[in-house]
Symmetry: C2
Subunit: 228 residues, 2 copies
DNA sequence: CTATGTGAACTCGTTCACAGCT
DNA sequence: AGCTGTGAACGAGTTCACATAG
């Protein structure tokens, strides 16, 4: 299943026996681990931090934080806390955040342009490295320092750039065929901003961000149906 | 908080009079209900639909769909299926989607401008009705058909417009004080696009959309998938 | 004595199988 | 017979309490 993806070369020199990572990490935990990493990086000049302190900064409970961290092994000192730089390193390793990912973006309309210029990606290890659109009026133009390619070139460009992660912000009617094209181009992870149900082959991850849905949930809660 | 969950167990002898929802609806179900509504609205000229058909369109399993719909009462006909217009009406009512919500948007930068112009909101019952920013270079300018107000005017404008839902797309460093200002202005539901942990008083709902986080989860799944 | 690591209880949501209308 | 409605089993994830290490 795992298609070999050539990225930059260099095989990991030491295949060290993992001291720990026996358990599968729940996705909810992964999301929080990313939060802990972000918080720690924003807390400079700190040598050691306790679960209570870090939990407060991240908005979770201490016990839950310790359980989350336990998934990546025992990197805390009992009676002391966690060594910050060690913890950052382990979080980066577990999240795969030790490298910078280059992502493709399909759909350079209203939302797509914002994603292409979103400053929040860079600091978290992501760089929008290729733009695609189907509109002839957009293809060939530049956005920031990138040229907008025709969606038909997705295969050529993604393989040349070794891109395996993509975001799509195209109209719902075009979403499925764009997904198919991306998958055909070797993309294995897709973040979809279009509403609607899309299918991908097994081995490809698809996540959806539905902006209107988030508002609908808020409206529901406000209407008092989910009272506390 | 969620009180004791009284699991089902209605005695047959007790006549049930209220047509309204007796059980609390899980948030995960609410999200799917909104999906069913969207799918149904995109399926015109259809009188009746079965759980199997609707489930296929929404990408869920038939049994799960029936359980979801059961939270809003029994509006299906056994042996037949669901009356589409009745179902749409009930979904709208339960979701609070029978009315159009007017939402405020704080932060009219890169992402904020995209949200202000996002076409997907209108069809789902939301209209961006007020814009705010702290940058003097933006305040007073127009975006679409709205004027950008100074964030200091949030109280005045939100109360005048009776706005109770807001989105914030401001830098992380300003997010908490913007939230505080919105809450002070009577906003009870906030969708936050800034990373970071924010606090709100009880009675106010806060949801977060972290774009970089979604990519990080994808990167994790791609790199270190639980299997081993 | 302090703070971590984790088994175990508990809560919440999903899946299943079948009972109950039409 | 067909399809819905739902109790009950199941599983994932969270919380808790305490054993454990420094």
């Amino acid at each position: 299943m795992a298609g070999q993806v050539v990225s930059g070369g260099a095989a990991p020199a030491v295949a060290r026996l993992a001291p720990t990572t026996p358990r599968p990490i729940p996705e909810a935990t992964v999301a929080r681990l990313a939060t802990y990493l972000r918080v720690l990086l924003a807390e400079p000049g700190r040598a050691v931090i306790s679960s209570t302190e870090l939990a407060a900064l991240a908005g979770v409970k201490p016990a839950g934080l310790r359980k989350d961290l336990s998934y990546l092994g025992s990197y805390g000192r009992r009676g002391v806390g966690y060594q910050v730089d060690t913890l950052i390193d382990q979080l980066r390793r577990s999240l795969g955040a030790h490298q910078a990912y280059r992502v493709a973006l399909a759909g350079v309309g209203n939302l797509g342009q914002a994603l292409a210029g979103y400053a929040g990606f860079a600091g978290r290890g992501f760089k929008v490295a290729a733009l695609f659109d189907a509109d002839p009026g957009r293809v060939g133009r530049r956005l920031g320092d990138l040229m907008i390619h025709d969606i038909a070139e997705v295969d050529q460009v993604c393989r040349a750039e070794a891109i395996t992660i993509a975001m799509i912000a195209v109209p719902e009617s075009a979403a499925q065929q764009v997904v198919d094209a991306l998958v055909g181009a070797g993309v294995r992870s897709i973040l979809n901003f279009a509403p609607g149900f899309l299918t991908v082959p097994s081995g490809v991850e698809l996540r959806r961000v539905d902006l209107a849905l988030e508002l609908q949930i808020l409206a529901f809660l406000q209407a008092g149906k989910g009272r506390s």
